[in-house]
Amino acid sequence: MVQVKIWGSLAVATDDQTLLEVEASTLRELLDGLADRYPAIEPHLKRGVSVAIDGRIYNDNWFQPIFPDSEVVLLSRLRGG
């Protein structure tokens, strides 16, 4: 199981839960697991989110490995200018 912190406005889609446990070894499994448990988060996932894994921010790579002791933080999609 991976512990996921939900930050910012995304928690409104997880019944205000900010710390969740999801069975996942990749980013895709993590996102699928979240969508299964919290359907309200699916539109956010479809529009894109950013995920910090051990301090590094990832946006799209489904196959990015996640280890059980990884620090995982789900963020709204980050954009630049």
């Binding site: 912190k5 930050w7 910012g8 406005s9 409104v12 529009r47 910090a52 051990d54 301090g55 590094r56 921010i57 990832y58 946006n59 799209d60 790579n61 990015q64 620090e71 933080v73 963020l75 709204s76 980050l78 954009r79 630049g80 200018g81």
Partner: protein, 751 residues
Amino acid sequence: MALDNNPALDTHEFRLVGTRPNRPDGIDKVTGRARYGADISAPGMLTGMVLRSRHAHARIKSIDISAAEAIPGVHAVITRKDFTHVPEDGDIADILDNCMAGEKALYDGHAVAAVAASSSATAQEALKAIIVDYEVLPNVTDVDTAIREGAPILHAGRSDGTVPEGASRNIMSRVEFGHGDVEAGLAKADRVVERSFKTEATHQGYIEPHACLAQMGQDGQADLWCCTQGHYMVRNTCAALLGMDQGQLRVTASEIGGGFGGKTTVFLEPLALVLSRKSSRPVKMVMSRAEVLRATGPTASSSMDVRIGMTKDGRITGAHAELRYQGGAYPGSPVQLGAMAGFAPYDLENVKTVGWDIVTNRPKQAAYRAPGAPMAAFGVESVIDELARGFGLDPIEVRLKNAAREGTRSSYGPTYPAIGLEATLQAAKDHPHWSAPLGKNQGRGVACGFWFNFGGDTCVSLNITPDGTATVTEGNPDIGGSRAAMSMMAAEELGIPYEKVRTVITDTGSLGQNEVTDGSRVTFAVGLATIKAARAAKKEMCKRVAKIWGIDEDAVEWREGAVHPAGPNAGLHPPMTLAEIAAVASNTGGPIAGHHEVTAEGAGVSFATHMVDSEVDADTGAVKIVRYTVFQDAGKAVHPDYVEGQLQGGAVQGIGWALNEEYIYGEDGILQNPGFLDYRVPVASDLPMIDTVILEIPNPGHPYGVRGVGETSIVPPLAAVANSVSAAANVRLTDIPMSPPKVLAKIRETV
């Protein structure tokens, strides 16, 4: 075959990377040969123009275009009714409504109709002949006024689930970041300072106005040439707005005269396509400067309350910020990014930031270099400065004491890997600027800033030509010198001179998806793909030579621009250079190329510290910047001239934001200063030389250690200048821009 395909940091001594060769676009740009958006033409081309609302908020009861259509030489007149496709995506629907108003005009300058005519004079005549029946509504342009009871409401029912019941309907969303117990932390402080701040909206101020040429046939195929930071974004967005297949629209990016985030969306492009479709003629559209200022994206204006507690030895015990950003008439101000970035430089046990996204009757904001971060940094860094000075502490020492480092839990959630903030602060402390004497009425300020940096979808194709040169084909408009950087990295890998590589920006039909030139991503992400594409080409060349020599691929290696036998057992073959391999490519299997497609991740966050001296004229309130030094972690600086340019450019834009630039609206909601005479950006004679100190702390996520540098440099200047002016004038400046009347009033308030 020995070939370094390891993505980990390549620590070998660079031959080209880190040098300063001539830029490949330099001669074209100084001789006027470069073709910008307005320079593109087509046979039979019409001139397109836009009718814009002169009301800040009005219901559109009807639009009569019949008189305009009857004018000889007018080939098409369009309104929102001509956009028959209804986008499902809410963001796309907002972009459509911003490009062409639907039920309401939501700001001064909002497009309500457009024409295509045989000349600009005829087009202007046609605009005058369009009759729009408006029901004028009350307007609001100030962020604080917009959330007061009784304020005019722009959109009812668009607030998302994060907005508490009973809050203003002009609030679109609320975000919150942080950890710990702020009140308990503040209780441990020896002093708590709470201040309110305001910043005005500023425009990105690019030199080149928006321009495009569209050609769309009745068969649905279309071509578009435009000035943009991302032609793939233009293709995808226009296709979504018009209900087209993306593959039917080919977009070519022109040279670009600046963007700074403001060209990461569309304004004219969908209008030009619909006008072209309706008239069956190519249609060219070019904005005036007034249109750019009235109708394209400035950044958000903001209002903030910041509260920070500190012990007398300089340790921050608790920090809280409430940020209110208005992003114009649609949801999507960058308040979330501001809320994430404000306290990001610091290691805080108790921190909380709340952000509110608010709508007003202003143009839809667009990204502007580190969107949202400079305003938040202004509030946070000002209060830290006030606390440090109040305790008689060195402001750099205080920042070092609280600096985030590897293992710090950031204020926005994740724990930092190795980061470079301390290095920038230490470099600032050790720099002669910090100990230089100040003159009369002068003050010195410092501030730190943080930005995320991004990667994203990237495609690069590298072709070896028969004469042994190389062409890099990529899909990101070159704003900050990326063609030079790509040529340098390709030449570095291939072992050939920089002059033997040409990098071209191709159209959307020639490569797969490429993200926009934004997020400080290009040198990092396209550079990574260029290196990988070059390595793929080298692998192919090794294979060809192994075939020629009749030995295994494993028995050859690439060194110094040539293929060599890998060891004594491979035989005594003279090395074959890239040019020799290219010359016989037709005999060994055909053309040689390498390509790489990637969603680049691992961009790595970035920090900067700025130091500025200013002089305040106590009689007029005028501020002069007398010295400025930027300290920034750039990872490996591929072409240091361009890196310095980015650091200087960010500082200068920040100085303009801090001192001069502002959107001024009348009570009628009409923009009062839509031109560069009254909206004043800094010019060279206003400024000292901006000194730069580049710290090269390698980013482990890139083969050469490259880190994005384009945005971080605009984060600290608002605060650094404010801290400097506050020290010089001996008052705390909290309202940006610090224009002479405001500074003078503040000085007089305190005497």
